[in-house]
Symmetry: C2
Subunit: 416 residues, 2 copies
């Protein structure tokens, strides 16, 4: 029998009716069992992972990619603990977010419900399989998982372990469905299943996300790139500015919330840029500087619009001196990826103006862009980040995996 | 110079930065001026409308369509009053919906902001031009309007009147842009402008909405049809049930929130169906009845799955007797369009169960489905209705034309 992605999605939709009705205590009990099973199945999972690693080596995949693929005792323990953490989070489902009594005595409430069926398309990290499944399940959804072909054996072993836990509680294992065939045509068919799937979340590089967005008939959570700006204002505290610059660029350059462009008020260039240059040089950061700032940096090249548009995801940064606050805002509005922008200033009025004027998903005053993350912003865990404004904007937690229905309680009212 | 829809959308995007920053008082003053201008421009608008009516008559358009097209003094007054009403509604923009202080003393808030640029694609009613423009503007958005070709002259005159009010306040008139060319290819190009347009709202028949959804690269608010169910439970109050049945089916059968299917518990069939049959017959409602209920109706035909799936939008209804509550829920889950479902019962536990189990956009107990409307549910005014769960679900008011950004206030915090 050949594999049918549509049939898998239909079964996930059928299972979503059951999963949506589970109460919080039951969902948590199942999640804890999933964590236990993963630990108990370590040998099986590592054996499957060894096949993926062997194939990856045979195919000469880059070392960084092989490292992302690799599972070991500690990583499986980490995955299990993440599931336990998700069990500990508050359940958004069932929350009544609003209640009004209307003049005709209808009582109108809004109540959180699961979205239904979520599809995840992701690349090589096998931990996403369990992480995404646990988050979707906690929010009462079922999920169709389509991971990278490099991790297929690992993903199958992880999903099987998880499904055994579901079956122990008489949950339809289709609640967490893993696409067993990494064929591209099957993924393309998945993108057309808007009758079965409510939301599609791609996780991976910009190319994957663009491909999925352009070809999907299912609504997609989009996040192409993070070109995060740091604006050091005339009234900046330079100590904070330097800490936040270094933290934003160096702490984890491969993250989408790391800094890509530094804007400095012209009155601050002379005092701030030499200090910044020394620190960036010490940290091995390559600089692309505007004409006015070029002189402060050793080995910097002249920045072009391509630099201002770039998401380096590496130890590289664009630097530009601006005439004033307005020019900084113009620069950000032109080059922003709608992800995260930071102002460093002690001027409270200007800080408020920045917060009012900049409509990126996350706007920060005197704090590192690296906090632009679901976990760091208090959402508990993050399923993804959206830089398009529909449905969710910014880091997405469990609540983003739900919607609200209207509940109307009457006593025989009709419309006149 | 040929018309460029992309250029129009780019200008709307540019204008959206200005409009997003307007405060509530200014927006309201502009809206009141728009209303005044419409009244003052009545002659011009009626002259333009006369051209559309003449063309419609020359093209033998159906009388109902010509009536939808027609403007007169009272209708223009109605349009102006609707704008004044929108001015009186609460402004969602700028609302802080949540604030938390995190352990590291970051203060994280969520703040409502406009979506940006909204495109509306609609059919023949010219009042939608002003109504949609006023709603989008009140929520701080700019809008690209693409109305039906039959109403083009009326729409151009209405938009011109509105744009004069914008200019009086130095607002870029691109804030409300009307596509002056009804060519289908231009609409198709509009559907690809996802860099410029944040949300697309089609308003019209199922064919228009399906076409737009299938071809759009911009996120679309979808509402294909409303197959609303009324379930009369074993414990129903039959007086309420009959009132709500008649109101739901007869008061305005062409509305998407009118009833299309009546489900009756088998223990209630004998007492309720003869009364329902008499009333429906009196009101001229054609009935498609299941085998068990056929005998109660004169001139009914046997219902098929096609009837249970139909949105009649007319004085027609499908009727089915169900064995029990569970069978009613199964029927609804199978045939629901996720719009509105109603239970009539005096059993509070069963009412709660229904509210819990049914995840349509609007779930009602002992009230008419005709209340499933933005105005009736207290949203003020309605820009549309969504039966897909992303972003908005159910009737959409001003709040649905906004999103939320994160605002993070720090004092030099960096991530460790």
């Amino acid at each position: 029998m050949t594999f049918s992605i549509q049939k898998m999605a239909q079964q996930a939709k059928k299972a979503s009716i059951q999963v949506a009705q589970l109460d919080t205590a039951t969902k948590n009990k199942i999640l804890l069992t999933i964590a236990d099973n993963l630990r108990a199945d370590e040998k099986k999972i590592l054996a499957a992972n060894a096949v993926d690693i062997e194939n990856a080596q045979a195919n000469d995949l880059p070392a960084a990619m092989i490292d992302r693929l690799l599972l070991d005792h500690d990583r499986i323990e980490g995955i299990a603990q993440a599931v336990e953490y998700i069990a500990s989070l508050a359940d958004p489902v069932g929350l009544v977010t609003k209640t009004d009594r209307l003049p005709n005595n209808l009582i109108v409430s809004k109540k959180r419900i699961p979205l239904g069926v979520i599809a995840m398309i992701y690349e090589s990290r096998p931990n996403v399989t369990i992480d995404a499944a646990a988050l979707c399940f906690k929010a009462g959804n079922t999920v169709v998982l389509r991971g990278g072909k490099e991790a297929l054996h690992s993903n199958l072993a992880l999903a099987e372990s998880l499904q055994i836990a579901l079956k122990q509680f008489d949950i339809d294992p289709a609640a967490v469905s893993l696409v067993p065939d990494p064929d591209r045509e099957i993924m393309n068919e998945l993108l057309t299943l808007n009758e079965e799937i409510d939301l599609l979340i791609p996780r991976g590089g910009e190319n994957l996300i663009r491909y999925v967005s352009q070809n999907s008939r299912i609504p997609v959570i989009q996040h192409f790139k993070g070109v995060c700006h740091l604006y050091v204002d005339k009234m900046a505290d330079e100590v904070k500015a330097l800490d936040i610059l270094v933290n934003g660029k160096v702490q984890r350059p491969s993250a989408c919330n790391s800094l890509e462009t530094l804007l400095v008020h012209k009155d601050r260039a002379e005092s701030f840029l030499p200090a910044a240059a020394a620190k960036l040089n010490e940290m091995g950061v390559k600089v692309h500087a505007c004409e006015q700032s070029l002189k402060y940096f050793e080995n910097a090249d002249l920045a072009t619009d391509l630099d201002y548009d770039a998401e380096y995801l590496a130890l590289e940064i664009a630097v530009r001196v601006v005439d004033d606050y307005d020019q900084a805002v113009e620069h950000i509005q032109r080059f922003s990826s709608d992800h995260t922008e930071v102002i460093i200033t002690q001027d409270i009025s200007l800080a408020n103006k920045f917060v009012q004027q900049i409509n990126s998903a996350v706007v920060m005053v005197n704090a590192s862009s690296r906090f632009s993350d679901g976990g760091e912003l208090g959402l508990g865990a993050e399923i993804g980040i959206s830089t398009s404004k529909l449905h969710a904007y910014g880091p997405m937690g469990l609540e983003s995996l739900t919607t609200e229905k209207f509940v109307v309680m009457g006593d025989g009212q009709v419309r006149s």
